[in-house]
């Protein structure tokens, strides 16, 4: 089963069970630190276990804010603005080196991999 916040992409891929949230990309499983919202969404996805037909997308009825103005800017030319809601073109440069969240992560990963593969980075070591 799949959660989704991109109805059109999921409708094309046709997973057997799917549940939709009308949120900006990057929030498929809920709003940050909103445990109630996150629980309702994941539970909604899990309940598609009882779906009678393959390929249906269940709309969980979750909305991001009082209006949908954020949708006007999604994937429009003009660049990213940040701040938690995807606006414009969010893509970064496609570089073939690890893109660490923190410099400290690089140090921790190098230390861990010094003796060889960790077995958890499948296809990357």
């Amino acid at each position: 089963m799949s959660l989704t916040s991109a109805w059109s992409i999921t409708a094309a891929a046709r997973p057997p069970r799917a549940a939709y949230v009308d949120y900006p990309l990057g929030h498929t499983a809920g709003k940050p630190f909103d445990r109630e919202d996150q629980r309702a969404i994941v539970l909604g996805a899990l309940r598609t276990l009882a779906a009678p037909h393959s390929g249906e997308i269940v709309d969980l009825g979750r909305t991001w804010s009082d209006d949908d103005a954020w949708k006007d800017r999604v994937l429009r030319p003009g660049g990213a603005s940040g701040g938690g809601v995807a606006t414009g073109d969010e893509r970064s440069e496609r570089r073939r080196e690890p893109m660490w969240q923190n410099e400290d992560d690089r140090v921790a990963a190098e230390a861990r991999h010094e003796a060889g593969p960790c077995g958890e980075c499948v296809g990357a070591e």
Binding site: S2, L3, A29, A51, E90
Partner: protein
Amino acid sequence: MRQPPVDYLARTRSLYDHLGYAPYRWHRSDDAVALVQPVVPLAECTVALVSSGGVYRRGQLAFHHADDVSFRVVPTDTLTADLRATHFAYDLTDARRDPNVVFPIDTLRDLAADGVIGGLGPRSYTFMGGIYSTRRVREALVPPLVAQILADHVDLALLVPV
């Protein structure tokens, strides 16, 4: 004012036209996948969490942003504070503040503690979506990923795409 769901297929097509790129070829399934009916109720199901949000654990290698078809095995008892996120195509601000927005590990741990699900599998799985070659996803990413999930003997997999 309410609007219908964002049509990412149409917007991507239009953005790529504007940038002079070749059209993106989305995956389309021609056939519906047959439903596999659960053999146990949800409250007894062991769940595998699979996310394409680019999450990795501190100590693991970060994903690169050029069609990375590797995946990370994230032990289910990982501390949330040790989770990181990197991805080339979405705003990471919230995923880095609260990884549960794309990798609902605490949400599932709570549901397991409350008896709503039977439990989580021993490992969760993450990769970075936005891979431009669907062929590479099918041939390089999916087979080893599915083999590992099946080896965990879970009852269902929850995919959280971004």
